[in-house]
């Protein structure tokens, strides 16, 4: 008995239940919704469940790695990720017109997914290394660390992911204490180069933005996703149409309904009540992650945990805003809900890192 108890303790020692609880609840919602979205396909459900168990195992692993050990992996990991991005640009596999995949024998690998963790790790390591004497030169160097992968990913082209990874880098700079003047300056510059960027955008990217501004421009073309998703959500009403009863979903009107637009399926079938429950769960998860961040013992842990937390928020917000028509359509999955093994694994690794940070927190509050 005692042995079992000790084994259980060893297994769960680093698992933060206040983080893990909401995460599991959201994953549960995801599996239930996926069943409806994928036309009750058992195969999809099993495949997602398999990815989930693998992801949880990785989470446990990362929860048991001390933050300082991770810090040592920062430079090699970042270097490998950049090398792979360059590799993709040279020998990548083209899927749907985008060169995003690196063929690795049996499987294909998307290096931009690795960069999502590698970049904040690298930046956090860098700032930790120069803790106490961070000057403007360091911020410039950090900016270069950010721009290189963002440019490579944007070239694939995958503007959505490039922006999100850029954002994760920016979060680290912000939390590391980037001057407000610089931040305001960057935004001002962004507004100024906007028209210039516009001319560099691909046609489909421009179309998405234009359609976002006016979905009726092309109701059967580019605006189709947005319009259909709004119809799905809106017609769900307060209580929803009930599980497996979404007409938009099951009459094939919703595109990408098990991946990026899964939230529309959820919103149609479970209504405003369901949406609110999901929002609250995300807030609990992010709130807990913020507490962990606030109590982190080192600058490295603080920055890493903060970046992971903000990425969670960014993904959830951007996806839900996109589905409900506040943001243009960008390929961002809903964290822990959308179908897809890679995203699930990255997210749980993030949770594992947060748990590790929590385990090595300052024991005395200051």
């Amino acid at each position: 008995m005692a042995l079992v108890q000790r084994l259980w303790e060893a297994l769960t020692r680093r698992i933060d239940s206040m983080l893990f609880g909401p995460a599991l609840a959201i994953v549960g919602i995801g599996l239930v919704t996926l069943f409806s979205a994928a036309d009750q396909s058992i195969a999809r459900e099993t495949s997602q469940a398999l990815s989930l168990s693998f992801a949880i195992a990785l989470m446990w692993m990362f929860a048991n790695i001390a933050p300082q050990t991770l810090a040592r992996a920062a430079v090699p990991l970042y270097t490998v990720a950049v090398a792979m991005l360059i590799g993709v640009a040279m020998f990548g596999v083209v899927v749907n017109g985008s060169r995003r995949w690196l063929p690795l024998g049996v499987a294909r690998f998307q290096p931009s997914e690795l960069m999502k963790i590698a970049l904040p790790l690298m930046l956090a390591w860098y700032f930790q290394k120069f803790e106490g004497r961070i000057g403007w030169r360091d911020f410039v160097f950090a900016a270069i660390l950010i721009v290189v992968p963002v440019y490579l990913i944007k070239r694939q082209p995958d503007l959505g992911t490039a922006l999100l990874i850029g954002a994760s880098g920016f979060y680290v700079l912000f939390l590391a204490g980037l001057s407000w003047k610089v931040i305001v300056g960057l935004f001002a510059m962004g507004a100024a180069v906007g028209p210039m960027v516009w001319s560099h955008l691909h046609d489909y990217q421009r179309e998405r933005i234009l359609t976002f501004l006016d979905p009726s421009r092309d109701p059967l073309g580019a605006g189709y996703h947005s319009t259909q998703a709004s119809i799905a959500l809106g017609s769900g009403g307060i209580v929803g149409k009930g599980w497996l009863n979404g007409t938009q979903t099951h009459l094939d009107f919703l595109p990408e309904r098990h991946t990026d637009f899964i939230f529309a399926v959820f919103g149609e079938e479970f209504g405003l009540i369901g949406n609110t429950v999901l929002l609250v769960l995300y807030m609990l998860l992010i709130g807990r992650a913020m507490m962990i961040t606030a109590n982190a013992s080192t600058l490295f842990s603080r920055l890493l945990a903060g970046a992971i937390t903000l990425m969670f928020f960014t993904y959830a917000f951007v996806n839900m805003a996109m589905v409900s028509g506040i943001l243009p359509v960008v390929g961002v999955p809903l964290p822990l809900v959308s179908y897809g093994g890679t995203a699930l694994i990255s997210l749980f690794i993030g949770l594992g890192i947060l748990m590790s940070v929590q385990a090595h927190r300052k024991l005395v509050m200051t």
Binding site: G132, Q248, D252, F253, G267, G271, M290, L310, M320, S324
Partner: protein
């Protein structure tokens, strides 16, 4: 965090303080963002809900099934017996019409609408769902189409569509073989669900109901296509977005020879009855007659009640498939089989004779089983017993034979069993035995005496009366087995199946289904006697001067027991007259056709049934047709039956 505060940055506590301040700001932003999302959801799902609900309801893409073209049915020479053609229909989508009657009245000013059309539309309306488009008028003329097109704007929810119609160019001819299609009902839907074909029947209104149309439904139907169309507010298709074409059903080539069929049907005249002609070497059904027939074209559009009542209530029972479902006592046609049984079991030899005084009495009983010929046939051997159809010979044989042995032997020829022909509804008939009688009269309604087998039962059965009841297809199958020296094929109406898309032709398997080991000399005795029947026996008159040698046997099945009175055709009501049988094959030495025919209430087999077989043989073997007996093949485009 600026360059000027460099010294402050060295203070870790101050550092943490600034970090937490920024984090708090982030927390506020996160909370605000989620509140924004909630507001957006509230706007969509509460304030704008009704708007989006309407949009969801009237979403603009309709997925329309495209009904495949049903397979064509042809006879063995490629003459079309059933085909589909496309015709314009005037259709109404009830859910889009406010006042149906008013709309129909207004439409009646533009195209002709009969009370019959209205009645049928009402019936469809009751059976269907509101959003379906229902035909009001079928087969519009080009002029009617043009007239409606001009007025179309006045009638939202009314449209011209093209639908496929089934057409049977030969009308009544071979109607029981080809059968017909009709509207899919609940029972059909269950069948479709059993096949796991529900999706494939989306959009299909019709399904095979009878005959080949029924039994080969799954070959004929084809694969339904799909079209995604954008529809306007009026429900009309604006443009096609995506299209998967349908795959036509398979074409069937029947073994039936429609010209022979016409000759056979014409030979019946107005009489009721059945005829089955089989190629004994393959089991090909060459002709399959059930008289009277019906016009299958009446059923295609949904039969109206007057026609239905006439068909259903007629004492002539035109809807009864007589070759398959008519079970009649075989009468004397059973005699050659019983003689063969006697030879095989050793109870009689070919040359052994009996004396026929004109009747038979069971020793110790007063009842006389009469022979047809008053005064009797005198000395009778086996040859004479068949050629002259001597009853007394078979009364005596039955007296010497156990009924169960007889049943076992006859069973090998397929009597009392389904032949397995490829259309549905076949009856088994009755091959009496002790066991059969025990089961037939089981239960409380009968007493033990009823269940017991009596010698008298055997005597009646010995001349093909009594409990015996066989279908014409069984008799045709059995005589074909004699003709083919004991080798039997399962009779089949479909010869081959053509996949229209791939061009692949599948022949229906033609392996012998049964083989009875018979001593050649016994078989020769029987075949010689059967040839004798046509040469010098009961059917000699019918086959006088035939340019070939045929073999056969007459039979007369009693409908009404006269209790020992002498039967006189003239004095008996037409419907109580005996049924006339003839079975035969030709050429006698190398048969290529075997026929069984029954004429209901036809009287003596020799007079009523044998001449029909003569005409069939003449046509099949010599290509001769009695002038005016067979009509010309009607044009395929003519949908009226002739």
């Amino acid at each position: 965090m600026n360059a000027g505060g460099a010294s402050e940055l060295r203070n870790p506590e101050r550092d943490v303080y600034h970090f937490r301040r920024r984090l708090s700001l982030v927390a506020v932003l996160v909370f605000a963002a989620f509140c924004g999302l909630f507001a957006r959801f509230f706007y969509l799902q509460v304030i704008q809900r009704a708007h989006f609900e309407t949009l969801a309801e009237t979403n603009r893409i309709a997925i329309v099934p495209i009904v495949p073209n049903r397979g064509v049915i042809t006879d063995r020479n490629g003459i079309v017996l059933a085909q589909s053609y496309s015709a314009y229909t005037l259709e109404i989508t009830p859910s889009r019409i406010r006042n149906l009657d008013e709309t129909i009245d207004q439409l009646a000013n533009i195209v002709e609408i009969q009370p019959r059309d209205r009645k049928r539309f009402r019936k469809l309306l009751e059976e269907s769902k509101d959003f379906e488009s229902l035909p009001l008028r079928t087969r519009l003329t080009d002029e009617e189409v043009a007239r409606f097109a001009v007025n179309r704007y006045r009638f939202p929810g009314v449209d011209i569509k093209a639908r496929l119609f089934r057409q049977y160019p030969f009308g009544e001819i071979a109607s029981h073989v080809v059968g017909y299609i009709g509207r899919i009902n609940d029972k059909d839907n269950e069948r479709i669900a059993d096949w796991d074909e529900t999706a494939n029947y989306k959009g299909s209104d019709y399904i095979g109901k009878v005959g080949i149309e029924l039994s080969y439904e799954r070959e004929l139907h084809g694969t339904t296509g799909v079209e995604d169309v954008e529809v306007d507010a009026g429900g009309r298709a604006v443009r096609t977005l995506r299209r998967t074409p349908p795959v036509s059903g398979n074409n069937l080539t029947l073994s039936l020879d429609i010209k022979l069929q016409q000759v056979a049907e014409a030979a019946f005249g107005d009489r009721r009855g059945a005829l089955v002609a089989i190629d004994p070497t393959s089991g090909d059904v060459l002709a399959f007659v059930s008289k009277p027939g019906f016009d299958p074209n009446l059923f295609v559009d949904g039969i109206d009640s007057a026609n239905w009542q006439e068909l259903n209530d007629s004492p002539d029972k035109p809807l009864l498939n007589r070759p398959l479902r008519g079970a009649y006592p075989p009468g004397s046609t059973i005699k050659p089989f019983l003689a063969l049984a006697a030879l095989t079991s050793g109870r009689r030899t070919a040359t052994q004779t009996i004396y026929d005084p004109g009747f038979f009495q069971i020793p110790g009983q007063a009842h006389r089983f009469r022979d047809d010929k008053p005064g009797g046939h005198g000395t009778v051997d086996m040859y004479k017993s068949i050629v002259q159809s001597c009853d007394t010979y078979y009364y005596m044989l039955a007296n010497d034979t156990d009924i169960d042995d007889t049943a076992r032997f006859l069973g090998r020829f397929g009597f009392g069993q389904k032949t397995g022909i490829d259309i549905e509804g076949e009856l088994t008939g009755v091959l009496p035995s002790r066991e059969w009688k025990r089961q037939r009269f089981a239960g409380k309604n009968y007493r033990d005496e009823n269940r017991k087998w009596y010698l008298g039962d055997s005597i009646s059965a010995g001349i093909g009366q009594g409990y015996n009841a066989f279908t014409p297809i069984q008799l045709a199958h059995a005589i074909a087995m004699i003709a083919n020296d004991g080798v039997g094929y399962t009779p089949h109406l479909v010869k081959s199946v053509l996949n229209v898309k791939t061009g692949e032709v599948r022949e229906i398997a033609r392996e012998p289904a049964s083989h009875i080991a018979l001593r050649p000399e016994y078989l020769a005795t029987i075949k010689r006697a059967l040839a004798g029947v046509a040469k010098e026996g009961t059917s000699a008159a019918a086959f006088k001067d035939a340019k070939y040698v045929s073999a056969g046997k007459t039979g007369t099945a009693q409908v009404y027991s006269l209790k020992g009175e002498k039967y006189s055709e003239r004095h008996v009501d037409e419907r109580l007259r005996d049924h006339a049988w003839y079975m035969g094959y030709a050429p006698a030495d190398h048969p290529t056709i075997a026929v069984a025919v029954l004429v209901e209430n036809g009287g003596f087999g020799a007079a009523a049934a044998a001449p029909i077989v003569r005409k069939v043989f003449d046509h099949y073997l010599l290509g001769e047709t009695e002038p005016g007996a067979a009509k010309d093949v009607p044009d395929a485009g003519d949908d009226e039956s002739d």
